[in-house]
């Protein structure tokens, strides 16, 4: 359940940014989560629901944008979409690839309200 720690980090950062900007509550949060980041979407939704209770985020609409996975072949350099860490290169069948996209875990933007 590392999603709970992740959710609490989101709450902490968003609270901090909102206070810094002089806001009083948060109406929207947009997150970017790569599908290979190790975050289980359902677990994060559940953890966030709990973590925002009683905070200035509690009314916020939380949008999660999924970032697809892209791997790069270590041999021929082909880049291809993948949903896991071990798909072989579709061009040269080399099994050794590096994930170059899909591990993101970011707070992209927030909308805040002022009193």
């Amino acid at each position: 359940m590392h999603e709970l720690s992740v959710a609490m980090s989101i709450v902490e950062s968003v609270e901090e940014e909102t206070h810094r900007a002089g806001g009083s509550s948060v109406s929207e949060i947009v997150l970017e989560i790569g599908i290979l980041s190790g975050i289980i979407r359902e677990a994060l939704d559940f953890a966030l629901e709990e973590a925002i209770k009683g905070t200035i985020l509690q009314e916020a609409d939380i949008r999660i944008e999924e970032i697809p996975g892209i791997a790069k072949c270590s041999s021929c350099g082909t880049e291809f979409r993948t949903g896991d860490h071990f798909t072989i290169c579709p061009e040269c069948m080399n099994p050794y690839t590096d994930i170059i996209q899909g591990k993101e875990m970011k707070i992209k933007s927030i909308k805040i309200a002022f009193k």
Binding site: H2, G22, G38, G54, H85, M105, I107, S109, I110, F114
Partner: protein, 273 residues
């Protein structure tokens, strides 16, 4: 961070040496509207804060901020400390029961004379591992995470302060036994070592790829049991390399002292890098 209510407190986490009483300084008295935030307004505000009545307006802020930024920043501070003191810091991650503590006991037995070893033990509960390490003869601090499923950079930061490792030493951080959560949390380590034991099955790297993908070395432990549990070392190697082709792999039976020399040479190679 408190794993119970989501407050910023480090509730439940205890950090102590063998023989010390449990420290429980933090009690759950805080409420969420009573937080004392100390924010510095060292930038200009675009708006003037003079609205009155029930007039509301909003603003969008582009953050583009890593969710684990706080942990990552603190991890970099830990890393800076280790680098400045020329310390090799190893984060040991695995499922529960793969043999991390036994590997540490063997490591202490073999090289504590030549290198000063300092150990941070992470478990949800008990001082059991710290007591084993203490008996083996290395300074140790036990971190009990309570309900927490992983160590984070802040726990390691506090543990390191308590442990006070010598210049040029090796610090081993034995993470909470869990093949999922610890993979996301940088502790500031020099290298990450994942241990899998043959009783867990040879497809572990495919089932829990994130941990293998973020590690530098994989130890396949308890190889003496391989014939009894239908474990293929070749397959395990193939799967691990598919997930992370930069991974180095050592086969070991810590109990029988097989493969430990290779592990020691690997460690010594890291101290020279």
């Amino acid at each position: 961070m408190c794993g119970t209510c989501g407050c910023g407190e480090t509730d439940q986490i205890s950090i102590r040496k063998p023989g010390e009483n449990q420290e429980h300084a933090h009690s759950h008295k805080h409420t969420h509207d009573g937080h004392n935030h100390d924010h510095h307004h060292d930038h200009d505000h675009a708006h003037s804060h003079q609205h009155t009545g029930d007039h509301h307006h909003g603003a969008e802020i582009q953050l583009e901020q890593d969710i684990l930024q706080k942990n990552n920043l603190l991890a970099e501070r830990n890393r800076g400390f280790f680098e400045a003191k020329n310390i090799l810091a190893i984060n040991l991650v695995s499922s529960p029961g793969s043999g991390k503590t036994t590997i540490l006991e063997k490591t202490i037995e073999k090289i504590n004379k030549h290198h000063n070893l300092f150990i941070i033990e992470g478990d949800q509960q008990t001082m059991n591992d710290a007591e084993r390490i203490d008996k083996a003869g290395a300074p140790v601090v036990q971190v009990n995470t309570g309900a927490g499923c992983h160590l984070d950079a802040s726990m390691v930061n506090r543990a390191v302060k308590k442990l006070n490792p010598d210049e040029g030493s090796m610090v081993f951080i034995e993470n909470v036994g869990n093949l999922v959560c610890p993979s996301m949390f940088d502790l500031g380590e020099t290298c990450r070592v994942v241990i899998m034991s043959v009783t867990e099955g040879d497809d572990k790297p495919l089932k829990y790829p994130t941990m293998f993908e973020t590690s530098d070395l994989c130890i396949i432990n308890k190889t003496d049991l391989a014939p009894y549990v239908n474990f293929s070392t070749d397959k395990a190697r193939e799967y691990a390399l598919k997930v992370n082709h930069h991974l180095e792999i050592i086969e070991m039976s810590a109990q029988n002292d097989e493969g430990t020399e290779q592990w020691i040479s690997w460690l010594e190679k890291q101290t020279r890098q």
